[in-house]
Amino acid sequence: MARITAGIGSSHVPLLGVAVDQGKSRDDYFGPIFAGYDWTKQWVAEAKPDVVILVYNDHASAFDANIIPTFAIGCGERYKPADEGWGPRKVPDVEGHADLAWHIAQSLILDDFDMTIINEMDVDHGLTVPLSMMFGQPVAWPCKVVPLAVNVVTYPVPSGNRCWALGEAIARAVASFPEDLNVQIWGTGGMSHQLQGPRAGLLNREWDNRFLDLLEADDDAVRHIPHIEYLRETGSEGIEMVMWLIMRGALGKAVKRLHRHYHIPCSNTAIGHIVLEPAP
C-alpha cells in the first residue's frame, strides 16, 4: 500500500528560483538560506520519495480572476513551468502521478471535500521553487508530483481547521491506494510577508517561530489560528502558512521533527522550513 512517510513545510519565494537559475545560491545574500536547505537536500536524496503531494498556491499564473477553486488537485500526466512574466523557468517539466491523483481526488470527494479537478495547467514558482530547493538542478525531477493548489488570495480562503482536515483525508486516501509507494507531502508558502500597501515588508520572527513550534507539537492547536491572526501578525501574504496545515494534518497527531531552519530576509519575505515524520 502507499504510505505518507514524511512532510515538509517550506517557503516558496520566487527569488530563490532566480538564485538557483542564475547560480547565485552561495553568494553572501543567498548563502545562509541555501545552507539551511543542505541538510534537507541530503535527507530527501536518501528518503527517495516516489511521489510528492505538493501543496501550493497559484499566483495568477494558471488561474486568472475568473475561476477561483478553493482546493484544486492536478490529475494530469505532466505540467510545464509557467511564464510568470520573465519567461518560464528553465527547469524540467513536472511529471504527475495521474493514477494516485485521481484516486486521491475520488477519495476526497467521497470524504465530503468538494475538489476541483485540473487536467492541464502550468505550474508557477509556488510549485517549482520548493522542487529546486530540495532537489537542486537535476535533468529531470527525481519523483512524480501531485499538485494541490489552494486559494489563499481571494477571501475567504479556507480555514486552518479545514486545511488540517483535508490533510487527514489525504492521508486516508493515500493509505487506500493499492500500489506500494513512498509518498511525501509538502506544504509550501510563507512565512511572514506582506507584498502590498504601506505596511509592505512586515516580518515577524517571533510569531513564525511559534508557528514552527506548534507544528512540532503533539496536538492540533495550530489548526485553530484564525485568519485575522495570520494577517495581523505575519502580513497579508503570511496567510499562505495555512497550506502547511494540510501537510501537518496528513502526518497524524504526533510527529518527530527532523530539521528546522529560519532566516530573515529573502526579498520581502521571512524564509523557513521544517521536516517532519509521523511519530510511530
Binding site: 499566483h59 512574466g85 481571494t154 477571501y155 506582506q194 504601506p198 505596511r199 484564525p226 494577517l231 530573515i264
Partner: protein
Amino acid sequence: MSDPAPRQPIHDYLAELEDIPGTRIFTAARARKGYWINQFAMSLMKADNRARFKADERAYLDEWTISEPAKQAVLARDYNALLDLGGNVYFLSKLFSTDGLPFAEAVSTMTDMSWPEYRQMMLDGGRSPQGNRSIKGGY
C-alpha cells in the same frame, strides 16, 4: 480531536479584515470591484499584448471596461490607488514584469520609503508588527 469554536459571524469576520493598517485584504468585494483591472493585468502575460500595451498604453487600456480613475492609476503606476480600486498584487505584478521592475522594488513604491531604504529595512529584519496590527486597537 478538538471541536472548533462556533464560526464567527460573517460581518464580524469581514470587518476585522478592514482593521489592519496600510493593508487591503483581497476580499470578495475588492475582487468584484477590481475584476477587469486584474484581467487587464493578466492579459500582459502574453507577449503580443505586452507589445501592444507598451506601444500605446492608453489605447490598450481603452479596450477594457475599467474606470477612468483606474486607467489613470495604471498610467501613473500608482499601485496603492490600484489596490483601493480592487487590484491584487499578484495580478498587478504582470505590470511590474512588463516594466522590467523587480517585484520587491515595485512593492517598495507602495510604502513611504525609497527602494534603497526599503531594501535596507528588509536587511535589518523587516517592518516590525509593533503598532501595525490593528487600526482600532492601535497595537
